[in-house]
Amino acid sequence: MNEYLTDTVQSLKDRFSLETIEFRGDISLVVSPDKIVEVCKTLRDDFGFDVLAAESAVDYWPEQAPRFHVIYQFYSMTHNQRIGLRVPLDGNGPSLPSVTGVYPNANWHEREIWDMFGIRFEGHPDLRRIIMPYDWEGHPLRKDYPLGYEEVEFTFNFDEIDGRKPYAKE
């Protein structure tokens, strides 16, 4: 970790009393949901992290207690550094403030997280599903959402499997 990043992390830790995680040289800070917008603003305005490179979420159900982690990856064009943020979220009606006001390209990322994980973003201008159809049920990337598959049809079980398909009922 270089000097600039160490300074950034230290002053953010002092200002917002944050925890840090370092793994394989990637540094990320654990932020509570109510502070996320403020931390993002500080990162952008005071430390020059002007690009939101990526935003997504991870589901830890059923092993961990705060079920979701929303993850952010920032990049600084001027300092050529990366830094990550993690926001732990409870699984019961998860929601956190949107950062679209700070980084406009968070718009689609947050729509995707809502679509895939069912995490709501307060203050998002257009929180609709983005990838799944608008009337889709459930949020596919949650760990309790089953991975679907097609059964392989052979001559001996063709009728049996075909009878279970939705169109057969009509």
Binding site: R24, N105, P125
Partner: protein
């Protein structure tokens, strides 16, 4: 079991202007099977005569659930899916995924494998830019360029087929190195391409760069300012055409890019024509990199010797019990990766291609997140298209250079 989310008409009303509701403007559906949307992109347009007032992209028609599927496969078996994301940059997708695994489990890569990785990704970058150039020119009614571009792309695909047996879905780069060494005749084939291609780029440029019809369709169309480009997180040639000299191959070199001498082409106008110039120059720079990498291609192994992560070669299985055990273990179960997440990004032909890979101590990834450049770059399309003609929208979709497999994942 799952709650249903209802969408009411009121929730959609803010997307269009008041005038559309009064019937002053026209709502037009473009796509998802329109030939110039480069796949299955659907655009909802609000038009005042021929002027675009609002452009609302609707994506997801090519969603394949790759991220979910990868969570149910071992690290190495999940790799075949990476090819299917950005199907014009298959080698680059393999590369970023393997770099992420190598960072996660701390696996070393031999220098020869790194150099071959660079050669193939740069050839793939040229192939991808050729598809972009051909289709972009075709959208602007320059038919012949398309045919020439696909002729040269075939030379690159032949090289990929020579190495991996596949023209497109190569899965040639593997964790810890390459699937196997390049065959005899590889160097000659690449050298032949290096010799032939510079003249071909001049040919395309002769057809387009000073062509008044092409200039008319691209100059001052879809101007993206430097500030907007950074604010919206745009990367790749689009960012460089807006005057930002940023390339991950220079900024955060991976796979030995720091040894090669090349320039980052930039332009300052940020319009469609500048993006065209940047991509044309990028092809020339890629040739330079391939030339250097080929000239000093080192000899040696192409795959790591760490048997905990890399299966032993077939020849060892008959003589070594240990090799047989490793082979069996790696192909039935796969290797275990530690708990923790890594983010790795490379410069794909379209911009920053990133992977967030998280392991949970077991043989399957806990989460694979793809930060794809097309998804992020497509977000600025409404910004670019505002106030332009519908006909220009076709040029704009071309200039963003989206691949729908990359957008929808």
């Amino acid at each position: 079991m799952f709650e249903k989310t209802e969408v009411t008409l009121d929730e959609l009303r803010h997307l269009i202007s008041e005038r559309a509701i009064e019937g002053d403007t026209v709502l037009l559906n473009m796509g998802p099977q329109h030939p110039s949307t480069h796949g299955v992109l659907r655009l909802l347009l609000e038009l005042d005569g021929e002027l675009v007032i609002n452009c609302i992209p609707d994506i997801g028609y090519l969603h394949t659930g790759v991220e979910k599927n990868m969570e149910a496969k071992s690290y190495e078996k999940a790799e075949v899916m990476t090819d299917r994301l950005d199907y014009l940059n298959t080698v680059g997708n393999n590369l970023v995924y393997c770099l992420a695994i190598e960072k996660l489990v701390e696996l070393d890569v031999p220098v020869r494998a790194q150099a071959i990785r660079v050669i193939l990704t740069e050839l793939q970058r040229i192939a991808s830019h050729l598809v972009w150039l051909g289709t972009h020119a075709l959208d602007l009614a320059a038919m012949s360029v398309f045919l020439y571009c696909f002729r040269e792309r075939e030379m690159i695909l032949n090289i990929l087929e020579m190495c991996s047996g596949q023209r497109m879905m190569t899965t040639y780069i593997r964790p810890g190195g390459l699937w196997r060494d390049v065959p005899a005749g590889f160097e000659d084939a690449v050298r032949e391409f290096l010799k032939a291609f510079p003249a071909r780029i001049d040919e395309y440029e002769a057809l387009l760069t000073k062509n008044p019809l092409f200039l008319e369709r691209t100059k001052h169309i879809g101007v993206l300012s430097r500030e907007d480009a950074i604010r919206w997180g745009v990367t790749g040639p689009m960012l460089r055409a807006s005057g930002v000299e940023h390339d991950l191959r220079k900024a955060q070199p991976y796979s030995g890019y720091e040894q090669y001498d090349f320039d980052i082409p930039t332009q300052t106008g940020g319009d469609t024509y500048d993006r065209y110039l940047v991509r044309m120059e990028e092809m020339r720079q890629s040739l330079r990199i391939v030339q250097q990498a080929l000239d000093k291609l080192p000899y040696g192994p192409v795959r790591s010797n760490n048997r905990k992560y890399v299966p032993p070669p077939r020849s060892e299985l008959g003589v070594s019990m240990e090799a047989l055990i490793h082979h069996f273990k790696l192909w039935t179960d796969g290797f275990d990766a530690p708990k923790g997440g890594v983010y790795v990004a490379v410069e794909s032909p379209r911009g920053e291609l990133g992977v967030y890979l998280e392991g949970n101590g077991g043989p399957m990834p806990h989460r694979v997140y793809w930060r794809t450049p097309s998804f992020v770059n497509l977000q600025v399309l409404p910004l670019l298209s505002k106030g332009h003609l519908v006909a220009d929208l076709v040029a704009l979709i071309g200039t963003v250079d989206i691949v729908l497999g990359d957008v929808d994942r």
